[in-house]
């Protein structure tokens, strides 16, 4: 047990089994990013998947949104300690986009408009665990929350769910992304409180 702070009793107790340790519930949808909100024109928007051998597949926004999509409701967890339950989205499963691309990659580096990157194991993006999401709460995803489209990987801390996503780069080696290079955890599991390197 940690060092006791005299007089501190705390508020949240026993709590909600859907809240990972150290998280508190919010009804808001806080906005967190490293710089200004990117505003990407739909006509210029493109999303691409590239393999370690340089093979590339890309979609315009219209092409993306005409692919089979899923509606899903998930809990999301930010490393700054808020969690939001039952958020409703629509998007294309990452699996669909990777399709039958020929790859031996174990890792993915997600790239965003504006230069943000984040790394993930490829396995974490497959089997219905991740989407390229373009609707939130039944409406087009707003720029503050990463619109036109963002990666959504709800089982990891939200910095892995790159806003304004423009592509996934498949790789055989794990390369740290933007926050990972400045001390954040390589994987980011909220249930194991993997906030910073070494957690």
């Amino acid at each position: 047990m940690g060092v006791i702070t005299p007089g501190f009793t705390g508020r949240a107790r026993g709590g909600n089994p859907r809240l990972p340790p150290g998280q508190y519930l919010t009804e808001d949808f806080p906005v967190l990013s490293a710089g200004p909100t990117q505003r990407v024109h739909l006509d210029k928007w493109e999303f691409a998947v590239t393999t370690e051998k340089g093979e590339k597949r890309s979609w315009s926004f219209r092409e993306l949104t005409s692919l089979p999509s899923e509606k899903f409701t998930v809990d999301i967890h930010c490393v700054t300690q808020w969690s939001k339950l039952d958020t409703r989205w629509r998007g294309v499963p990452v699996e669909t986009l990777i399709g039958d691309l020929d790859t031996e990659a174990d890792y993915v580096l997600a790239h965003s408009y504006g230069g943000y990157t984040t790394n993930l194991p490829l396995a974490d993006l497959l089997d219905g665990q991740a989407w390229i999401a373009y609707e939130y709460n039944g409406k087009p995803l707003t720029p503050e929350h990463g619109g036109p489209a963002r990666l959504l990987v709800p089982h990891l801390y939200l910095w892995k769910s790159a806003k304004w996503v423009r592509g996934l780069e498949l790789a055989t080696k794990d390369e740290p992304g933007f926050w990972e290079s400045s001390g954040y955890h390589d994987y980011g599991d909220p249930w194991r409180e993997q906030r910073y390197q070494g957690d």
């Binding site: 060092v3 006791i4 702070t5 005299p6 501190f8 705390g10 990013s33």
Partner: protein, 247 residues
């Protein structure tokens, strides 16, 4: 982006409160002794963990308010009504009481004294905290980088570090924006920060300034959008958002 060297697990360290400075009716600066503190850069933050007698813990992030100074570090905490951690830190928490702290955290929203580029700091409310660390780091290092601070608060009584900012300091200009109430005798009317404010107070884009914006979410969104409208490149604008948003 420069990489921050981080080795091993970020340790929780015991911090003892050495001094309290009341900044406003609802905010105070807490000065801690943290034996073994590894040092930090202006703009970084720490995580603070409180533990109750029954083992329950709560942790929150707070920006470092002053540059690195041996085993000492300073935070400024604003009381949030109903807030679990901030109400304790601005209330019963007393000199000699321990908390646990780990950090420093963050390698992007930082200013290094070796950087000669002009700097624009834009603060909303308690968002001034990490920006003040940059102002103090500039002074401590004798840097000649040109600094401007635009500081938005509701009323003059809400200013943090008021006496220190009032002292003239070569190379630092401060513009205050009051949203509810002006200082006695000041001309004009209360207003919110706008493109016009930033057009006057920011650096011309061809000076290659770096801008740091910190405050509640809506404030940061407004300011970042205004700076983009004025032609600043997105890469020159670094933001940190403190508060929740309604949306």
């Amino acid at each position: 982006m420069a990489r921050t060297a981080v080795s091993g697990r970020l340790a929780w360290r015991v911090a003892n409160l050495a001094e309290i400075r009341q900044e406003t009716a609802t905010a105070r600066t807490l000065v801690f002794d943290v034996p073994g503190w590894p040092g930090h850069l202006a703009g970084q933050h720490v995580d603070v963990r409180l533990t109750a007698a029954d083992g329950y813990t709560a942790q929150r992030s707070y920006s470092l308010a002053a540059p690195s100074d041996g085993d000492r570090l300073e935070l400024t905490v604003q009381r949030v009504a109903g807030g679990e951690v901030s109400e304790h830190l601005t209330g019963p928490y007393a000199v000699g009481d321990p908390v646990e702290i780990r950090g420093p955290i963050g390698g992007w929203f930082v200013w290094r004294p070796t950087d000669p580029a002009p700097v624009l700091l834009v603060a909303g409310g308690s968002g001034v905290v990490p920006l003040m660390a940059m102002i103090r780091a500039r002074r401590a290092a004798g840097s000649r980088a040109l600094f401007r601070l635009v500081y938005s608060v509701r009323t003059p009584a809400d200013l943090y570090y008021a006496a220190e900012l009032r002292k003239p300091y070569a190379g630092l200009d401060v513009t205050y924006v009051y949203t509810r109430e002006l200082p006695d005798g000041a001309p004009g009317i209360p207003r919110r920060i706008s493109v016009a404010t930033l057009n006057t107070a920011s650096w011309p884009t061809d000076f290659g300034p770096t801008t740091f914006v910190c405050g509640p979410t809506a404030f940061v969104e407004t300011v970042a959008d205004a700076l983009l409208a004025l032609g600043h490149s997105p890469h020159s604008i670094r933001t940190e958002r403190f508060g929740p948003s309604r949306d």
